[in-house]
């Protein structure tokens, strides 16, 4: 690994560490996101579970909708905090590679959402009696690749919108249509795994597609982050 590469990763790591330190001290986004995701699943459970029998295949959709909703909340809050304390400008002024800052932000939000998913996965499994953990490895890879894809686009858009008017409304408006392929991949892969006869090959197909999507969109975001964040 050459010097510039290790410098790049070091900057990304510093940004992650900064975000996690702030989060560990206040726990604001973590607690609100966790509570929100659990209440989302509860509302769905009230709507879709009748006399202990959930709708068939509902669990996969609900898991991903909950991930998407809480992800939007976390993304909005993360950048709102940066904007409120004027640290977004400081971050942009830092003598560091912009793509490295993007990567750090992305990893921070990914870490946050992963914690939410650790709670969401058993909650959906219990409330919807879905065998989500019957095949743990493909399920976890689906969640990881899907969440990275969602965060890749989300981090870029939330950062861009941090300075825009009506950003709270615009973030979901821009993000949901754009991340539909991730949602289709995640939901379809999860449905394949929760069948009475799990279709593991199909789930792997979706994992591969999601990884490909992640690579393309992270590359594209890193490339556009610098010009887009310049005032």
């Amino acid at each position: 690994m050459n010097a510039s590469m290790s410098q790049f990763l070091r900057v990304a790591w510093i940004v992650v560490k900064k975000d996690l330190t702030v989060e560990v001290r206040s726990r604001e986004i973590l607690y609100t996101t966790l509570f929100f995701s659990v209440s989302c699943v509860l509302v769905f459970a009230i709507a879709f579970v009748r006399q202990g029998r959930p709708l068939s295949d509902a669990a996969a959709g609900i898991l991903w909708v909950a991930v998407q909703f809480s992800g939007t909340l976390a993304l909005g809050r993360t950048f709102e905090r940066e904007r409120h304390t004027e640290t977004l400008r400081a971050l942009m002024l830092a003598p560091a590679d912009r793509p490295a800052i993007y990567l750090g932000k992305l990893l921070g939000i990914f870490a946050l959402l992963s914690v939410a998913e650790v709670i969401l996965l058993p909650a959906v499994t219990l409330l919807f009696r879905a065998p989500l953990l019957a095949r743990p490895l493909p399920m976890i890879l689906l969640l990881v690749s899907g969440t990275i894809g969602f965060c890749a686009v989300g981090t870029l858009f939330a950062a861009m919108l941090a300075r825009a008017r009506s950003r709270d409304v615009l973030l979901p408006v821009l993000l949901y249509p754009m991340t539909i392929p991730v949602m289709i991949g995640g939901v379809m892969g999860t449905v394949a795994l929760t069948q009475p006869e799990p279709q593991e090959a199909l789930a792997w197909f979706w994992i591969n597609l999601l990884v490909f999507w992640d690579v393309v969109f992270i590359t594209l975001s890193m490339w556009t982050f610098d010009p887009l964040m310049t005032e």
Binding site: R165, S166, L170, L174, M178, W213, F217, L220, P227, L228
Partner: protein, 218 residues
């Protein structure tokens, strides 16, 4: 506007006189009859709906690299035209589908891709309208992602079973129908180009007006 008058006359003539006559004269398709004729309208609209994001994306890349105002205007015009041709396609599609498949809507790859592409560019237009100052840069990012997303949306819904006629239908048309179809397509392309140029021009005039106001006040 004078420069655009002649092209506008040509496009209007082609769209309102030549193509309709050709469409009326085209033979009836053996199984679907009259309903099939919507095809001359629906398919060119759909093709432009999926091509227009690329105009917007490429113009957005140019805008981000060179800061050229003109490229930004082209991107805005192309995004709005994506929405316009999307409306045409998404309205004519169900009319045909109701007759041919018996349903108004089906979650088929081509339909879903068209709907989502249309939605992404509606989001683009909303951002331009309500994003406030600096939104043209954000919109450029959205335009690039919108362009890159079109193949992904297509691929991810392609795994579902497909009902929609394949692209292989167009090359295999009987010659009479093919010539009518391609005339309709050329007419649509002209319309697209003309609308794009007019919209870009309008945006340039707005900028000019803004500049003059500032000059007057300053």
């Amino acid at each position: 506007m004078r420069k655009l008058f002649f092209p506008a006359v040509v496009v209007t003539t082609v769209m309102f006189i030549v193509v309709p006559i050709l469409i009326v004269r085209a033979p009836y398709e053996s199984t679907m009859g009259l309903v099939q004729k919507i095809f001359y309208f629906h398919v060119p609209g759909g093709m432009l709906l999926l091509l227009s994001p690329f105009v917007c994306g490429i113009a957005s890349i140019r805008f981000l690299m060179t800061q050229s105002r003109q490229a930004d205007r082209v991107a805005l015009a192309a995004a709005e035209l994506t929405v316009l041709f999307g409306v045409l396609t998404l309205l004519t599609g169900p009319l045909w589908a109701r007759k041919a498949w018996g349903v108004w809507w089906e979650w088929d790859p081509r339909l879903t891709t068209s709907l989502l592409t249309w939605m992404m560019f509606v989001a683009y237009v909303l951002l331009r309208k309500y994003g406030g100052p600096g939104s043209e840069k954000l919109a450029a990012g959205l335009g690039i992602f919108g362009m890159a997303n079109v193949p992904f949306v297509y691929k991810s819904v392609d795994v579902w079973r497909t009902l929609h006629p394949k692209t292989s239908v167009v090359p295999s048309l009987p010659p009479v129908m093919a010539s009518v179809f391609w005339s309709a397509f050329v007419a649509f392309c002209f319309l697209y180009g003309l609308l794009l140029v007019t919209r870009v021009r309008l945006e340039r005039q707005r900028d000019e007006l803004e500049r003059l106001y500032l000059e007057l006040e300053g």
